[in-house]
Structure formats: structure tokens, C-alpha cells
Symmetry: C2
Subunit: 165 residues, 2 copies
């Protein structure tokens, strides 16, 4: 099964695709989509959509997961992230790819065992769990892999619970 | 010139298309796009996109204007509106339709002369300025017409300023 993780943003959207098979996960691809801050927001969102469509066209994605921001600290930045996440959700919704949202602390708790793990701890956890030769970079791509892994783990647990019934 | 106004929302997106010709404005079309609250957000955003694409396909739109929300009162609702506005901006950006954002008080000040006008005062101003036989309904469609008129007025003023130079 192919699980896509997305860490949405207007300047940088991280993506990470993980394949799970009999409880083993491997990284298929990961990277970032960047848009030019000098461009108009409408053009940047159109560019983000085009690149995300390219991604879902290239791979047979079964499930997707998105990191959800909550508006608290930086409002202007949260506004951009929410707009980018709207575009990402729409691309997935159009393809009828099931999508689940997780908060950053849910993702951290799922991978590192506690919600307060820092960026480097998360990168190391992703590297070790996916058996990557190097630390996954940039950080947004590592975050996206972590989101995909969090969702894959949650799906596996749900299935185990169903089997147990 | 055709100016499209959009009042974005996840449950209800208002749209209003205004044609301006030699300083005279007329309403071409107005209405709302609704999505089912029982549906998943990704599907609702995909539906919103499909309907907005239908709209920009049907008319030769020269300029667009969007009402921008600011996150303050209801966070959950602001999140939905921002996601919907991301989809709307993306649809316009993809078509390279120039889009300008206005705050609710800018729209009110432009039409009613002061930023504190209430919903009914705005509906009446839209009705009178566009010579409509009835009050424009629903309120989101009237808001969208007001946004389009605000932008048309701003474009006209910018042109007058340029000519004066």
C-alpha cells in the first residue's frame, strides 16, 4: 500500500511517499514543492496544484495524510498554510484518495513516542525507521515522511483492532 | 469588462459577476455554491473547485476580487474559509485572471461609504447601484456582487489617477 504524507505550505510543501508491506515500511520518494515568494499568491497556489497533480499522477496512492495547522502563533503564515492545505485537500479529494489529518504532536507521538520531539529527533527517527542511508532532507520532506508513517501506523492499528473483534 | 466577486466559504461560496461599461455597472449573474456539510472536507473542496471552474469557463472574466477573512473570532470557521479561499485563488491563478483581495470593511466602505454598514444596508446598496428589481439574495451572493463592485470602482479610480498624471 502507498501512503502519501503532505506537510503543506505556500513557500514549501513537503511530500513523502511510503510503501507498507507486511508491516515493513520503505520510502518511495520524498521532496519539497517550492513556490516563488515574489509571485502572486494565486499563481503560487496554481503552481502547487500542478506539482501535486504531477505527484498523484505518477504514483498509485492508496491513502494520504496531511499535517493540520492550528492558527495560534503567526496568523499571516497560518493563513498561507491553510490556503495551501485547501489546495492539497482538493487535489486528493478530486482523485477520491482517502485523506486523514494529523496535528504535529500526533505525528511526533506516533513516531517518537512523545509529542514534544524536536525536528532533529524526528529526522533521526524517520531515518532509522525507514533504513535511510542519510538524514532525510530538507526538514519538510522528512516531516512529510513522518506524516505518512504516522498514518500507515494508524491504519495498521485500526486493522489489528478490527481483526481482534 | 467582466469583474467576478467571490465571497469564499466551505459551506457557501457567494459569487457575483458584474459588467462595467463607461462607468455603468450591471449584474450579469450571481449565486452561491454550496457543499454538503456531511461530506468530507477534501470532497467538498473538490466540488467547490469544479463549480468555480464551471463559472470561469462560462464567462470571459477580466478581473476577480475576493473577500479576505482574518482569523480572529471563530477559528474553526476561519480555517474552512481559508481553505476554500485557497481553492478559489488557485482556480483564478490557473487561468491567469488577475485577482485582488479586499477586507469586508474595505468592501463596505467602497459601497456604503463607511465600513460599518450592516448586511441589509449592503444588500440595499447593491440593489440600488445595480438597478435590481429585488433585494439580491441569498446574502452571500449579494456580498459577492458588492466585492465585484468594490473592485470595479477601485479599477476605475486607479485608471482616473493614471490619466490625471
Amino acid at each position: 500500500m502507498f501512503v502519501l504524507g503532505i506537510d503543506p505550505g505556500l513557500s514549501t510543501t513537503g511530500y513523502g511517499l511510503v510503501e507498507t508491506s507486511r508491516g515493513v515500511m520503505r520510502a518511495v520518494t520524498a521532496g519539497v514543492i517550492r513556490t516563488d515568494p515574489a509571485d502572486q499568491i494565486a499563481h503560487r497556489l496554481a503552481e502547487l496544484e500542478r506539482d501535486l497533480v504531477g505527484l498523484v499522477d505518477e504514483y498509485q496512492i492508496d491513502e494520504a495524510a496531511l499535517e493540520t495547522v492550528f492558527v495560534n502563533k503567526n496568523r499571516q503564515s497560518a493563513m498561507s498554510v491553510l490556503r495551501a492545505s485547501g489546495v492539497a485537500l482538493m487535489v486528493l479529494g478530486r482523485r477520491r484518495i482517502p485523506v486523514t489529518e494529523y496535528t504535529p504532536s500526533q505525528v511526533k507521538a506516533s513516531l517518537a513516542g512523545f509529542g514534544g520531539a524536536d525536528k532533529q529527533q524526528m529526522q533521526r527517527m524517520v531515518q532509522s525507521r525507514l533504513n535511510l542511508p542519510d538524514l532525510p532532507r530538507p526538514a519538510d520532506a522528512a516531516d512529510a515522511l513522518a506524516i505518512a508513517m504516522c498514518h500507515a501506523q494508524s491504519l495498521r492499528m485500526n486493522r489489528a483492532v478490527e481483526r481482534a473483534r
